[in-house]
Amino acid sequence: MSAKSSIASPAFSRRGFLGFAAAAASAPLLAACGGGSASQGGGGGASGTVKFWDMPWATPAYNDAAKGIAEGFSGASGSKATYQTIQWNNFYQTFSSAIASKTGPAVSTGGGFQAFQFEQQGQIAYADKAIEKLKASGQFNDFLPGVLDPFKSDKGYVAVPWQLDMRVFWYRKSLFEKANVALPTDWPSLLEAGKALKKVGAFGFTTGAGAGNNYANHSMIMMMVNNGGGVFNKDGELDLLNDRNVEAMEFVLELVSNGIVDPAAVSYTTDNMSAQWKDGKAGFGLFQVNVPERVGDTSGDLLVADPLTGPHGDKATIVFPNNIMMYTNTPSQDASEEFLVYYLGQLKQLWQKKLMSALPVFKSITELPEFAGDPNNVKIVKDWQPIAKTFASQGNSLNANLAALDGGQALNQFSQTIITGKSDAKTALQAFQSGLESVLKK
């Protein structure tokens, strides 16, 4: 009887037990209700602590370095910053839930169009004052040409860019030598190179549209833009069925029908695609910055190609200007702005440590020996950055609708349809246009 429960003891009455049970039951509720309190750091925390959320933009070493920079912040009024990594899985939900419960960040990086989505919902603090501070410090003049323009809305700067996720063509030099074919400079020569590469067991238009892989989506839009087309017209209206887009997709379908696109590419994840590059199956294709490091082949065989000239003389690629945004829920807007300016000023460390897989937005960083020492980087800055357009092309201003385009079902379905050759160009574009119309906010 030594193990007799205290609940069974006469001293523990039924009423007492019920009271205990009610208290235990209400504890989690009270805890949940208290989630947004200042003690939890809601809206950046008490006493001017700026809560900074960042994404895993590269390896964990990147996040460690970024954390070091953030935590090194010390504002004029004694404000500090905390750093938290947010995973890409369900990131929009993570941000939305946190913002709704007032436990979100004061400053963050995030999805390419996230700032515009939250601006629409009244959660973004405009960065005009921060821009003024950058002008005052002279750092404003260090921005590469045109990188700030897409973030200017009627009400002010929605966010400030900090890196450019550029899409450029890469090639494996040894495969071109083996196939004894010249590097493509335009679409006809891309077709010829693709045919020659096929004879040596390689693919001339490497891409992927499997789980979580957006490279096929980007390749389709890039080919449209490279032909003077795009998803939107200059007025920002949906314009998928224009002749340039039809022509571009007919060309991609020609690549597919000639076996220049890997028939299994529709299911390739980014890891599968990287493996194709590493294993010498990929001869030519659209990819990001720093491909040799990403795929694990730094022998010098993987190189950046020249931009292709479209049939009508157009030269263009697409770029995702990743940005830092500020939120209205902050312990101090001044501290948020101070932190943003400080963080932008420290970015060069990330490139100096060779942690980034994207282009910097500052000219001074492109001139760093750690960056400029890589001829691929130099070529991208020199030849590709000046012709890069955003997803909004032919329009120039970014908006919340682009979030539903990038990674949305309509584009994904369209890309998969094209690279499997399941439809003609016009039908696929028509379905794409209808799909987008149903999800884009008017």
Binding site: R14, F17, L18, A21, A22, A24, A25, S26, P28, L29, N90, Y92, Q93, S96, S97, I99, A100, Q117, F118, Q121, Q123, A209, G210, A211, G212, N213, D262, P263, A264, A265, V266, S267, Y268, T269, N272, A275, Q276, D279, K281, A403, A404, G407, G408, Q409, A410, N412, Q413, Q416, T417, T420, K422, V439
Partner: protein, 320 residues
């Protein structure tokens, strides 16, 4: 008369009336105790019930609000009534996903049940290292789905992956298991069966363990064949467990997001998009919260109907 006396005695015994004890007074005592007990139970249960209502009720009400509005995750938006439901129900993508979900569930439930049943029966026989086999057979269920889906991806994704290479070496061509819509659907379903059969095996093993072996001995003596023993004894005796496992596996399959999303992302060209994947993509990729939540509501209603039907089967099998 004797029979009546016996029945009366049994009846009294079931009521807890001692032989020779008073007739109706104890019944009154019993009902008084019941009322007290009921009140105690009520107060003891109340905190849990309140918690459950809050935990399940609040999200349900919030979801109902979202399904009838045109807002987003942060803002409720305008009331649109049943528009989101009609949008979803008139969408070909919804019906395509519903069709895939149906096949995925049928194959997932019955495929894993058949494999699980076969292995449970096999493990009942005396085989060497049976315990080790049991543990090894549990691995697909135990291993995190992220790990197993990545492993399956590397086995089948590219023409040079292990399985396509094997087919090629056997002169069977180079099947693109994840790139061909039909093969991708089959691959996802086989993967689901592979992941789920250990659960079924455990459920059936537990049910089989409770079957008295003397029943089979008696059946053998009566001349029943092994098939008759299986179909007339084993299956009816494990019917209750079977229906419960079917209910659970149906819910697992209909709500299964990671198995599909990690392996194919719902592709190629939506060939493996189930309703839950469609709901996720609608809310978090198209940012159309109302229609996405409407899909989830329709799924929940369907699952409730299926569960009720199967629960009735359980009660029926219990009575039998």
């Amino acid at each position: 008369m004797a029979l009546t006396t016996t029945q009366s005695g049994l009846s009294r015994a079931r009521r807890g009336v001692a032989p020779g004890g008073p007739g109706t007074a104890p019944v009154k005592r019993r009902s008084k105790l019941s009322a007290q007990t009921s009140r105690t139970f009520f107060w003891l249960l109340l905190p849990s019930v309140v918690l459950l209502v809050l935990i399940h009720g609040y999200p349900l009400i919030h979801a109902a609000v979202q399904a009838t509005h045109d807002g987003n995750l942060l803002q409720t938006g305008n009331f649109v009534g049943g528009e989101n439901f009609s949008t979803v129900l008139t969408s070909p993508a919804f019906w395509k996903a519903a069709q895939f979900t149906l096949w995925f569930t049928i194959v997932g439930v019955f495929g894993s049940w058949l494999v699980g049943l076969g292995l449970a029966l096999l493990l009942r026989t005396k085989i060497p290292a049976g315990g080790t086999f049991k543990v090894l057979l549990l691995l697909p269920w135990v291993v995190p789905i992220v790990v197993s889906s990545t492993a399956w991806n590397w086995l089948v994704a590219t023409p040079d992956s292990l399985i396509p290479s094997l087919f090629r070496n056997l002169g069977l061509g180079t099947p693109l298991f994840l790139a061909d819509p039909t093969l991708a659907s089959i691959t996802v379903m086989v993967f689901k069966v592979w992941v789920s059969f250990p659960f079924m095996m455990m459920m059936i093993s537990a049910a089989l363990a409770s079957v008295d072996s003397t029943v089979y001995e008696a059946a053998s003596m009566d001349g029943a064949t092994r098939w008759q023993q299986f179909s007339q004894i084993t299956l009816p005796l494990i019917a209750r467990s079977t229906y419960i496992s079917w209910i659970l596996m149906t819910i697992f399959c209909v709500n299964d997001f990671p198995t599909i999303y990690l392996l194919t992302g719902g592709g190629p060209v939506s060939a493996t998009t189930s309703l839950v994947v469609l709901a996720y993509r609608t809310v978090f990729q198209d940012f159309a919260t109302g229609p996405g939540v409407a899909i989830a509501f329709l799924m929940t209603m369907t699952l409730v109907v299926i569960s009720v039907i199967l629960y009735r089967q359980i009660r029926k099998s219990s009575v039998e």
